[in-house]
Amino acid sequence: MAQESNIVIDHGRSKWSDLWKKEDYLAIWLGFAIILVSMIAYFNFGPQADFAQKIGAADQIQAAESSKAPFKTIAWHKAQDDKGKLKASGSAFGKFVGHWTKKPGSWKTNPLDAFVRSEGQAKAMNEKALPKYEKAKAVSDAALSAALTSEQAAAGAGFKDTALNDEAKAKIADWRKAHKASGDAKKKTGNNPYNYIPTLIGLCIFFALIFGLGVKLMGENFTSFVKGFVLVFIVSVLAYMLGGQAVSKQYGMGAEAWGVLLGMIIANTLGTPKWALPACKVEFFIKTGLVLLGAEVLFNKIIAIGVPGIFVAWVVTPIVLVCTYIFGQKVLKMPSKTLNIVISADMSVCGTSAAIATAAACRAKKEELTLSIGLSLVFTAIMMIVMPAVIKAIGMPEVLGGAWMGGTIDATGAVAAAGAFLGEKALYVAATIKMIQNVLIGVTAFCVAMYWTMKVEREAGRNVGAMEIWNRFPKFVLGFLVASILFTLIDSNLGKDMGTAMLNQGVVKGGTSLFRDWFFALSFAAIGLSTNFRELAKYFKGGKPLILYVCGQSFNLVLTLAMAYVMFYLVFPEITAKI
C-alpha cells in the first residue's frame, strides 16, 4: 500500500474542477504564475530599450569591422564583450528576486560560511585573489598591446597581406585567451559579505504559503502541510550547505544528492516525524519545477554547432535510449518498466534533469528516481575523471574528445569540468553538445508520457480513445512543453543577443531557474524523508539496474564516438577546422 501511494494516478474522467483541484494543473498554474511575473517584470519594467540601443551600437561596430577585415578584429571582440555584459538580472527586480531566493553558499572548512560571511572574511578573500588577478590582467594587457600592433600592421597593408592577417589573427586569439583568464581571475576578487539566514526564513514562509495554498485546493490540511514543510525546507537548506562544500561539489555531490541522502538517513534512523509526512509532496514540487524547467528548454539551441551537433546529440541519444530500454525489457527482463525507462533516459540524455522529467512523465516511484540518480552520480564522477585522462593518453583530437564527452557524461557541470581539463576547444564542443542534448528532455518527457499512456498502462486488448488518452496523460507535461515552445519562440524573435540578455540572463537566471532549483531541492529532500531504505534496496536486488546502466553507457560510448568521428572528421571537416 505504501508503494501504491507513491504513484500518481488520474482516476476517472476529467472534470472542470480538476483545473484547481489536481496536482498536475496546480503545478502548471504555479509554474506559469512565476513565469508570468518574471516576464512582466523584466519586459515591462526592465532594461530592454536600453539594451536594444547598446546591442544596436555594438552590431554597427561589428558590421563595420567585418566589412573592413577578413578576421574578427579587436574592436569586433570588444563590441561582443559589451553585448555579453548585458544582463537583465542586474535590474532592480532581478536583484530583489536574487536576494530573496539565495541558497547557502560555498565553503571549505567551516559550514557556517555557507550562511554568513563577514566583511572581514570577504575582504580577506578578495585580497587573497587580487595578486593573481593583477598578474592575469597584466598578461591580458600585454597580449592586447601585441594584438593591436599586429592588427595595425595588417591594417597598414589594407588587410591584403595574408601573412600579416594570420599574424594578427593569432595575436588576437592569444589576447582572447588571456582576456578570459583575466576575467575568471577578476570574478574571484568580487566576494561580498552576506547573511542568508533572514532571507531563508522569508523564503520558507513564502514557499509554505504558495504550496500550502495548492495543498488546500487539493483538499488537504493547510496547517499540517505548513508544519511539516518547515522540516522539508530545513533538510533542503542543509542539503544545499553540504553540497556547497568544495570537495563534495568536485565529486558531483550537490544539493540534490545530499537532499536524498540526508532525508533518507533521518527517515531510516531517527524516523521522519509523522507530522512532517503531509509536507513530503514530492510530485507537486517536481512537477512545478519541471514546468519552470520548460522555460530553459529552448529548441533553437540545437543548431548551435551545426549538423554534427544534431547528429551526435539528437540522433545517437534517442537510439541509445530506446535500445537500452529494449535491452532492459528483453534481455535483462527488468521487472519495473518505469525503472528501466528512467535509467535509460538518465544515462542517455542528461542525467538528473532527464531522470526527473522521465520519472514524472511515466509516474515512476520515488525509489526508482533515487536509484537512477544515484547510479548517474557515481558514473558521472568516474567518467569526468577517466575520460579526459584516456583521451589525452591516446592523443585523441580535442574536438572529437569534447564531442564524445559531451554526448556521454551525464551532468552538464561534469561535462564542462572534463572538457576544461582536456583543453579549451574540448570545453567549447563538449559543453555545446551537452546543451543540445539537454534540450532533448522536452521531447523525451512527452514521448515517454504518450507511450506510457497509450501502450504501457493500457489494458490488454483494449483500444485507447482520444478522451482516455487525455484523461490519463500527465497534464504537467503539457505545461512543460508550452513553456518550452513559448520561450523558444520569444528567444528566436528577440534575436540571439537580446534573447540572451533578456531571457537567459533575465527571466530565467533572475527568476524561473532560481525557483526551479529550490523546488527540485525540496522534492529531493521530500523523497529522502519518505524513502524506506529497505524498499530502495529491493529495487537494486540482482544488480540489474547497474548492469543496465553499464551496458547502456558502453553502447552510448561506442555509438557517440563513432558518430562524432564520422560527423566532425569525415562529413563536416570544415566545421572542425573552424573550431
Binding site: 575568471d184 565529486y251 551532468a411 557541470g413 576544461a420 559543453a431 524506506n532 573550431i579
Partner: protein, 98 residues
Amino acid sequence: MGMSLLNQAGNIFPGFLQGPDIMAKKSLIRRLAAFVFVLGVTFAVIYGLFPWMTHSFDPLTRMSQSLNETGIDPSRYYYTDVEQVRESEQYLRGVLDQ
C-alpha cells in the same frame, strides 16, 4: 545480526538502516546512535576519504586544481546552471559565423 556488508534486506548498515517502520519501535537513544553513526560514516567518506583520494592520486589532484581555477561546479546538472556553456555557445557561434 549479519556481519556481511549487504544483509538479506539489502541493508549496508545492518541494525542501523532497517527502515522507518522497524526503527520507530526502537528507543530514542538507539535511534540517535544510529543517526550519528550513519551520518558520521557518510561524512567520513565525503569529507575524509574524498579529500584523501584527491591528494593521493595525481589525476584527481589535477582535476581538483582545474576545477579550482575554472570555478566549474560539476554538481550542476542543467546547461543554464553552467556559465561555461554560454561562453562555449558564444565562441562556437562566433567561429562558425552564425
